[in-house]
Subunit: 603 residues, 2 copies
């Protein structure tokens, strides 16, 4: 059975030593009083909830899965899921990052994000039930009418009701313009909605009193394509004026999918049979609200893989220290034992450190993104708001695709550390691999993320946002360029930063002549950009670590070994993972011809 | 539901157009009469068996799995497995590559290997029941006494009895020197064997009348470690002098593992409770026989991933042509449809071609290895025998690790082509990923393969074998260096060949001072070597394709589009996959320090 320890020390390092989030909060009025102690205390408690309440349900939930009663359309979640959710609601966890106006605790997103990292480590499938609520909450909070907000947001904040995003249909996933679900306007201002949705995570369950579905559909007179899609709120139970639950609405679960992973989360086929809904925002502008949900969900998916990377790492590390097999290549290390623990082997270390470096880099990126979102929405300086908005737009597809691809690499590496035992269910490692696998697909496949990044976020404004991130890298290079100890961390990002500029211009130029060049380079490009971002954060983490070690030296006291560990992991990252960029730039430059001139090969 | 079409045309290309196996057979007395027609006819029939008999059992077998009756220790395989096996035995398929002396058909290994590729595409879990027999057969055929051979080989050849390899114990997988299973000599020359084995594939089942276990154990007076391990044959049912089945032997299944994949294959915990066995080969020399089984099994595991890569590719290709979603970046292609088929997108093509290039390269390597084995054992010229033996020893870890890692990349890419549907069991794609995952682990993890390659097979003889392979590359470069049309295929392998020489010397030198340098470089090194081998084969395939296209041109007839497809795939391979070597050499050169100086990080 796997174990899990919330990485609180590393979270504190990221927030308080690298990003100094409390300094930022001082400039955001609603967080002016936020302090280090409160943040740490909340996360400590949150870690206990994750570890004690939902982690023990992870393997049993996978084995049991969800079941549907085909007569009543009721879905039963695995044993213990409902009770754990009750504990979650009673503990006030659902309200953590929500608006106090609707009963929320108003804690910063970075705290909620780290709380969710722990939930994801403990049980991704369970976490998706409350997790999906956040996207629906944000869309209603941003575009809902005051009446809709009053009707729904209090109960979604408390967690008594959960939410979903109903986008996909059997014939359209990526291409929502093909959508067929219809919304007919009624005399009372509501709409009757009819259609079939699939792949609706947490789409039906027994954990909450009501489920608030956010549904994309076409008005009867809508123009074709993506410009004719509107967003509706469609509750499972209609809500009476007094807030009590009314009649059962015509939206139900037609079946559950049988999946590779996240088996304990109900992936529902949702049938809308004249369901009553109300419009969110403007007619035919449904994609606006959809993107509010989607951007939140994309960061959330990156966070899922971060959680899985961390928990996989912790267990692989424990196993590598415990499992005795063969001797070190440089001679016996554990002479009193029949063999050495496998952690003495270089490649075992490589697998472990891959997961560690990706987890810690991912944690930095998630926290940084959460802070950008706060600044985008709450900073008094408009310039900061705009620039934060641009940066988060660029970093979101990276946080989604790079973190989930890294999660795939890391969970597989950690499973591999276990040898044959990694393949056996009881050890729990293969479940991390299976659960992570969906993260590379849903909320926009990683190919879609790469096209969003390169096509829209980078080339779409002629590299202006990339230059802004490049400035941050440049500042660090400037700051630390003369520091000999930092050279090993600064040189690679300085070089890659320069290469990226050239590389981007080159692709932009080729893409101008042939758009397939953008499509051919995008996936490679995203990983290069991911390494530039991770390289930057690893350099910043090394900077803090070196500063602390040097301060300890000056004061004649031993430095906290945490900082030495950071430096070692940073060195590993730059030595063994970052050089992936060499190949990625070559394969991107190999262009589109070897892909597109292949009609005979793909006949 | 997935589909499968045996890639007969490509198999014929590999055998008859690139390798010209019949020419080689003319020099091997036992195959002197072998002709193209016989080989093709056997494979055509074999393809029908795979497609019609076992492919339909693949998804149901995964869903049902194996069950054990804890009272009788009997294992029941999924519905239809037993009947399919009966068809297999009755069709004479078990005897295909076996020695005519014991009732075998004496067909060349390359035919058996391609037959098995198709079986693996159709149903890896089922295929492991007959597949495991081959290793046991080889060990008995090589080291068994005439009596053992008479007792067991006829029925194993016919397939009436299957075989296993009982190596692993709970505390020892890689490190067989830690083995505890004991063998006590008896007055009648037999041994009483007692111990616990785990992870025994096809270890117990209801498909055959008897199961012939090959068991590693220690004699009571054995020296410690790997030099005190002996090999025994331990039948499930003792065999009477007349060949009939006697009493039930004290070897039984104590339990079945719950696994990520190959769920329809019984992965058995095997209890030996004073089981009667006879010694194979010399006392304490069990590893010799073990390696006969293991080398055969390692090529077999590579073949499993080849099969999965091929079938995953075929299904992803069909889906990509069928699924309509978004428009091509260069403007609509299927104007009469609501969207273009997703095959218009560059990255979808990249995912498909990755699988195709790895499948076709893998098929070349498997066939080449099969021919080397024939030459090693059957060529009249001793020099050819020795050199073939050296080459196959070097290529075996590459065939195992490179093909299974490629299978991981390819099956995941093909699953990704399906978007959300790839995650759903009914489509069958996620099963290919799960089934493939064990291939990177068993029969020696891929890390172990890399240490075997670099430490033993390359540095162990100061690069002599690598030089021999380098000569083959050199010959091709010499032959085609002046052919302008071949430059795009020849230049990269010429460069990589030179780099490999330097790279190997460098690691050898560093490893001499610090053995961890070998361990730190080995996994990267194996993939570089894999690309040198694949690059060589892709160049040879391109050579044949160009020759055929040019012949057609001269004769004024259209060339078979098969050759154009080969060239396009070769160009893709060199453009998008081969450049991985750039990063691999960098990360290998980053050395062992960033891995080993990490005690704080891995505390």
């Amino acid at each position: 059975m796997p174990t899990y320890n919330p990485p609180l020390r590393d979270m504190q390092f990221v927030m308080h030593e690298v990003l100094n989030v409390v300094d930022d909060f001082k400039q955001i009025p609603k967080y002016a009083e936020m302090d280090v102690e409160t943040i740490n205390a909340v996360l400590e408690e949150g870690g206990k909830f994750a570890t004690e309440v939902i982690f023990p349900l992870n393997i049993p939930g996978d084995a049991e899965g969800c079941t549907i009663d085909q007569t009543t359309h009721a879905v039963t979640t695995p044993k213990g899921f409902k009770e754990a959710y009750k504990t979650y609601v009673e503990g006030g966890w659902a309200a953590l990052g929500c608006d106090p106006e609707f009963g929320g605790q108003g804690l910063p997103l970075v705290v909620n994000s780290m709380f969710y990292e722990m939930l994801n480590s403990a049980n991704q499938a369970w976490t998706m039930y409350p997790g999906l609520t956040h996207g629906a909450y944000h869309a209603l909070h941003t575009y809902g009418t005051p009446e809709q907000q009053q009707t729904y947001l209090h109960k979604m904040t408390s967690g008594e009701w959960t939410g979903t995003m109903c986008l996909t249909e059997p014939h359209c996933g990526t291409d929502l313009g093909l959508m067929r679900t219809k919304a007919e306007p009624q005399a009372d201002g509501t709409y009757k909605i009819t259609g079939n949705k699939i792949f609706i995570s947490a789409g039906e369950h027994d954990m909450a009193d009501n489920i608030i579905h956010l549904v994309l559909a076409r008005l009867t007179d809508a123009p074709p394509g993506i410009k004719g899609v509107s967003l509706f709120v469609v509750p499972k139970f209609n809500v009476n004026k007094d807030g009590s639950l009314g009649s059962r609405n015509g939206i139900y679960c037609g079946g559950l999918e049988h999946k590779m992973g996240i088996k304990a989360n109900a992936t529902a086929q949702i049938v809308l049979d004249g369901a009553v809904g109300t419009l969110i925002g403007q007619p035919n502008k449904g994609m606006q609200g959809m993107f509010v949900m989607m951007n939140s969900a994309r960061l959330g998916v990156g966070n899922q893989s971060l959680g899985l990377t961390e928990v996989a790492y912790q267990n692989a590390l424990a196993y590598a220290k415990d499992r005795l097999q063969m001797r070190s290549l440089t001679g016996p290390k554990a002479k009193d034992k029949p063999a050495d623990p496998i952690i003495v082997h270089p490649d075992v270390r490589k697998m472990l450190l891959t997961a560690k470096a990706y987890a810690e880099g991912g944690r930095m990126l998630q926290a940084y993104c959460a802070m950008l979102l706060e600044k985008e929405h709450g900073h008094p300086d408009e310039k900061v708001r705009t620039e934060s908005g641009e940066l988060i737009a660029m970093l979101t597809p990276i946080a989604k695709a790079f973190l989930t691809d890294n999660g795939h690499i890391a969970t597989n590496a950690c499973m591999q550390v276990f040898g044959g035992h990694g393949f056996i269910k009881e050890w729990g490692m293969e479940q991390f691999v299976r659960d992570n696998r969906i993260n590379m697909i849903y909320e926009g496949t990683n190919t879609i993320q790469s096209l969003d990044l390169l096509g829209r976020k980078i080339l779409g404004n002629n590299g202006a946002t990339l230059k802004k991130f490049g400035k941050l890298v440049g500042q660090l290079v400037e700051e630390e360029g003369v520091n000999e100890k930092m050279a090993e961390f600064i040189t690679p990002i300085a070089i890659l930063g320069d290469q990226m500029t050239k590389f981007t211009t080159e692709i932009g130029f080729k893409g101008f002549q042939n758009p397939d060049e953008v499509g051919a380079a995008a996936v490679d490009y995203l990983r290069v950009a991911g390494h530039l971002v991770f390289g930057y954060f690893w350099a910043r983490m090394a900077q803090v670590a070196l500063r602390e070690i040097s301060a300890a030296e000056k004061e004649g006291r031993p430095a906290d070994p945490f900082y030495g560990a950071k430096l070692q992991t940073a060195r590993f990252y730059f030595g063994k993972l970052f050089p992936e960029t060499a190949t990625l730039m070559r394969t991107a430059r190999a262009g589109s011809k070897v892909l597109m001139d292949t009609d005979l090969a793909l006949a």
